[in-house]
């Protein structure tokens, strides 16, 4: 994944540091609680949520189980509609393809729609190395880019920054990149947004090359879909002459009709809106309207390895709504940076170690970055059983076993005794010394009781050999308290 994250400390260290940062915790807490409450409301508005969720899960599962067929169908339909399809086995190849495509246009700058896939492969840095400047145009991404920072949330990447910091970043950095911030810029959100509007408009109007990801690709029709709020996506998708979309191979749905499920569940899960302000769909190129050249780069980069794991492959159902981040007691405390990857929170804890393998210390520690409370599973619009995959990956880290890396079967050795135990225990200690996290955690723990072993597997055995792991009660104390005290006084 992105070089930005190389050298990240393992999760427990990074988290400990983040937990000590009061501003970060305050911002995160406010954000996650606000979105969480709104989402709840948006979801209860639709009576058939459970059915939509089940349909979404099944569509994605079916597609993954026949991914080779759907990929080829997609390739055919995109080509028939006037697009050009490229395949990239890993990050380096994807970056190489995009760089060459940009160079062929003779341009040395591009405008970008927020895209996790291009962050994952470190595209901006790769372009930079070839003398091509990539401008992020999503407001939050702009803040992150100008602040020489990393995103910390899927949906609101600059959530760790408050308005004062944003004002300072704009005032200091905008002139480096183009139109400077207006004189006397204050820290009101409206003024900051206006400054971004002016700064970026100049770039949109002259841009010849746009780079995007996509939320969905329809195999049947070759249609790509981008869901957004600000209109920067529309700018990048329609004003440039050349559009390059870099998309993970798991983003396919079979038919046009399938969008009816995801266009209902994604906005409500994500921004808690009935519908996001803008959704764009395009099928190849359209004469006289929008880019005249369209390239689709299909990205593997660990996805086929993830697909090879029968338990873990469900992580590929993810539609990146970020609902799981906002309910996660661990994410709320630790913040997005502690996960050391572009995918933070519960989904990051299962996706990153699968995409990248669990060899590095940070990836080996990620499956422990959870209290297994199950709240992430409850909110997930495609019903990914994140706790199940976490437990599965913990086993993998501790016991080793057969995995697929870059298409080849390899046998992982068990993590070195001490290292694994240390990682696990440090993560556990961290959670246990932060009672609020644990409290929320226990709420759903009884539901996942089947995952709780009596003894720790692998090297943990020595530790649990002399200790009993406490069984999880059928009703957590917190629930009993809430029930008997009518919810009063139980809040954090």
């Amino acid at each position: 994944m992105s070089g930005t994250f190389v050298g990240m400390p393992a999760f427990p260290e990074a988290a400990r540091e983040a937990v000590g940062n009061e501003t970060l915790r305050g911002n995160l807490r406010h954000a996650t609680h606000t979105i969480r409450a709104k989402r709840e409301k948006a979801v209860t508005e639709v009576a058939d949520w459970a059915e939509l969720r089940e349909a979404g899960k099944r569509i994605k599962d079916h597609t993954l189980r026949h991914l080779d067929r759907y990929l080829q169908q997609l390739e055919d339909s995109v080509t028939a509609a006037g697009g050009i399809v490229h395949w990239a086995a890993d990050a380096a190849e994807a970056n190489e393809i995009v760089t060459q495509l940009v160079k062929m246009t003779g341009e040395s700058e591009v405008v970008k729609v927020k895209s996790m896939a291009t962050q994952e492969i470190g595209l901006n840095e790769a372009l930079e190395a070839e003398g091509i400047r990539a401008y992020e145009t999503d407001l939050a991404e702009l803040i992150v880019q100008l602040g020489k920072d990393r995103p910390s949330h899927i949906l609101v990447p600059a959530i760790h920054r408050n308005r004062g910091e944003i004002r300072d970043i704009f005032t200091r950095e905008m002139s480096e990149w183009g139109r400077p911030a207006p004189e006397g810029l204050t820290d009101t959100p409206a003024e900051l947004a206006e400054a971004a509007r002016l700064h970026l408009r100049e770039k949109f109007l002259r841009a010849k090359v746009g780079i995007s990801g996509a939320n969905f690709m329809v195999a049947e029709t070759g249609t790509l879909v981008v869901v957004e709020s600000e209109g920067n996506g529309r700018m990048c998708l329609t004003l440039p002459e050349t559009l390059i979309s870099v998309v993970g191979i798991e983003k396919i749905v079979p038919t046009w009709r399938d969008l009816e499920v995801f266009l209902q569940t994604l906005p409500r899960s994500s921004t808690a809106e009935r519908m996001n302000p803008y959704t764009s769909t395009w099928t190849g190129t359209t004469d006289g309207d929008g880019p005249s050249t369209f390239h689709l780069v299909l990205l593997d980069n660990g996805r086929t390895d993830t697909l090879a794991d029968e338990v873990g492959r469900q992580a590929l159902r993810c539609i990146r709504c970020s609902a799981c981040l906002n309910v996660c007691p661990v994410y709320e405390r630790a913040g997005g940076h502690a996960y050391g990857s572009v995918y933070p929170g519960p989904i990051g804890a299962i996706l990153s170690p699968q995409l990248r393998g669990t060899q590095s210390e940070i990836d080996a520690s990620l499956p422990y970055a959870s209290s297994l409370c199950g709240a992430c599973y409850e909110v997930c619009p495609v019903a990914i059983d994140i706790p199940e995959v976490l437990v599965h990956l913990r086993e993998r880290v501790v016991q080793g076993g057969e995995v697929t890396r870059e298409g080849n079967k390899v046998v992982l050795r068990p993590a070195k005794g001490h290292a694994a135990e240390r990682a696990a225990m440090r993560a556990a200690r961290w959670a246990f010394t932060h009672p609020a996290a644990l409290r929320t955690g226990q709420r759903a723990a009884s539901r996942t009781r089947r995952f709780h072993p009596r003894t720790l597997p692998g090297p943990g055995k020595a530790w649990s050999g002399s200790r009993d792991l406490p069984p999880v009660p059928a009703e957590p104390f917190r629930d009993w308290w809430q029930r008997t005290r009518g919810g009063k006084g139980g809040a954090e």
């Binding site: 349909a55 569509i59 079916h62 308005r163 947004a193 700018m235 969008l259 395009w282 593997d300």
Partner: protein
């Protein structure tokens, strides 16, 4: 081996556990969710559209065929617009009452030219009541995607009830995936700064929707 073959090969090996008789798409996907939410009369559906549009801070107006030209002229005047973009196939009558300079969108119009225009008036392809969404599909009365994006003021005319559906599934059914589609729910907005909602970062900051009764 090229990357296409390599990736497809990896996919096939990864799916070795999937049986040959895995249920086909039609059986694998359950569709027992609702086609629409609630049981509404036609008028109620239009009313819901108006409510949800307004809830997302679009400005909603209602009129009939006779009143339309006057209303459009009035909105442009109130806004103080000096120029208005017109898609090639827009109903002539809609702008009959305004003297504002008309700018026709031409293939060679540059984004900078569009940026100097104050307002744009378009029709739409379909409107979705439950989500408060209007969808444009690039038909001649809606024009290219860029014309409803660059100017800061968009007036969109929806014929009711003919163009109104209840739900997202009903909306998709009416749309042609081969066309470039833009779904618009309220004006451009961001919540990236401390989750405070701010209207209009890049797209039009003002969206006015005119619901016109079918004659």
């Amino acid at each position: 081996m090229n990357s296409r073959e390599r990736i497809l090969g990896r996919v096939r090996r990864a799916l070795a556990d999937v049986p040959r008789d895995d249920p086909p798409y039609e059986q694998a996907v359950s569709r027992d969710y609702a086609r629409e939410h609630g049981d509404r009369s036609v008028e109620q559906t239009v009313e819901l559209l108006a409510e949800n549009l307004a809830d997302y801070r679009a400005v909603v107006h209602r009129t009939d065929a006779e009143g339309l030209a006057g209303l459009v002229a009035g909105l442009l005047e109130k806004r103080g617009s000096a120029s208005v973009l017109v898609p090639p196939g827009l109903d002539e009558g809609w702008l009959a009452a305004t003297g504002v300079t008309r700018v026709t969108d031409r293939a060679e119009s540059t984004p900078h030219e569009l940026d100097r225009v104050d307002s744009v008036v378009t029709a739409c392809a379909v409107a979705i009541a439950e989500t408060g969404t209007i969808v444009l599909d690039g038909s001649p009365d809606q024009g290219r995607r860029r014309i409803t994006l660059v100017p800061d003021h968009h007036i969109c005319v929806v014929r009711v009830p003919g163009q109104v559906v209840s739900s997202v599934p009903q909306g998709l059914e009416r749309l042609d995936p081969a066309r470039p589609l833009t779904w618009i729910s309220g004006p451009s907005a961001t919540s990236d700064i401390e989750l405070d909602r701010v209207e209009g970062v890049h797209g039009p900051r003002t969206l006015e929707v005119i619901l016109v009764g079918d004659a």
